[in-house]
Structures are given as structure tokens and as C-alpha cells.
């Protein structure tokens, strides 16, 4: 990540604008134990209350890391019931990074956040169709399968 991803201009600008970047050695206690770090690189999105909203292990290319970070922002907002902010981030992933690994999960969460907003099953069914049509081999398409019945 140090050689390729973090020096990337888009990555560094995105991190600087949207996060407080904290770097800890994987053998530093109590943090290594608290966050159950067994392998690096490990990138964790943590809110200001110390709650984890996304935890990723392994290398990300720059073009995959930015959408992954946007997904981390979306999941933080979703978990905090900030649904409008969540939906904004998810829409950005699907519009700007449709081929990224983060996109299928964004499509799934778009259904969930839409349902939580409207309490209508249509949002979930729309997510199912988006996943079936655009990301049919993804695990998220399989998770959305029950929504086809709505």
C-alpha cells in the first residue's frame, strides 16, 4: 500500500478530505489486540466513538481503494441511521466505480437503505434486479435472491 496506493494522488486526496488517517504498527498493544489484527495490511474505518464499520485485509490497487473507502463511509452512515448520506455515497460508487469490487455490496445496501427510508419492498426488489442484471456472479446477488419474491 505504501509503494503504490497511498502515494496515489486521488487516494491521498480522498483520505485527507474524508478521514482522519491513523497509522499503527501491527504489534502495537493494546490496539493490535483490540482490533484483532492478525495480518497486514489492514484498513479499518472507525467512527469517532471507536465503533468499527468496515475492516479490510490485503492490498488494494488505487482504483479499488477509493471505492472501498466510499463504501466505508456509506456503511458508517448506514450503521448510524444517516440514510441520506448513506444513499449519496452508494450512488457515487455505482455511478463512478461500477466495475469495482465495492459496487455489488453498494447495490445491495442501496436496497436496504431504500427500504429503511420508504418501508416499501420495491427498493429491495430493485436491488435484486440491479444485482441480477449487472453483478450476477457476486455473492451479493445471491444474498438478494429472496427479494425477487417481493
Amino acid at each position: 500500500m505504501d509503494a503504490v496506493t497511498y502515494p496515489d494522488e486521488q487516494v491521498s486526496a480522498f483520505i485527507t478530505e474524508n478521514f482522519i488517517p491513523l497509522r499503527i504498527a501491527s504489534d502495537a498493544e493494546p490496539y493490535s489486540t483490540d482490533f484483532m489484527v492478525q495480518w497486514t495490511p489492514r484498513s479499518i474505518v472507525v467512527d469517532s466513538f471507536g465503533k468499527v464499520h468496515q475492516s479490510e485485509v490485503g492490498f488494494f490497487r488505487p482504483e479499488e481503494f477509493v471505492p472501498s473507502l466510499v463504501l466505508g463511509l456509506a456503511k458508517t452512515a448506514f450503521d448510524q441511521d444517516q440514510l441520506e448520506a448513506c444513499k449519496k455515497h452508494l450512488a457515487a460508487i455505482l455511478a463512478d466505480y461500477p466495475d469495482s469490487a465495492a459496487a455489488p455490496e453498494a447495490a445491495y445496501l442501496q436496497g436496504a437503505s431504500g427500504y429503511k427510508t420508504t418501508h416499501q419492498g420495491g427498493a429491495l426488489k430493485d436491488a435484486y434486479h440491479t444485482l441480477k442484471d449487472t453483478y450476477p456472479e457476486s455473492g451479493w446477488a445471491k444474498r438478494a435472491l429472496p427479494y425477487r419474491l417481493l
Partner: protein, 33 residues
């Protein structure tokens, strides 16, 4: 903004800033070896 992430290395400082700036923390664990 340049092309460098300005990493904080103090846990408390990072979370104090997170509260002040209303931003989440991106916590990166790296192999020190």
C-alpha cells in the same frame, strides 16, 4: 493537497480530531518489520 497522506500515529490525537472534525478514522495497521 499533494500526494502524501499525513498520518497521525497517536491514537488519542486521531480520535480527538475525529470528534472535532466529525470525520471517521481510517486506521491502517502496517507490518513494522
Amino acid at each position: 493537497m499533494g500526494n502524501t497522506v499525513e498520518w497521525i500515529t497517536d491514537f488519542k490525537e486521531a480520535f480527538d480530531r475525529a470528534n472535532e472534525e466529525k470525520k471517521p478514522v481510517l486506521l491502517d495497521f502496517f507490518n513494522p518489520q
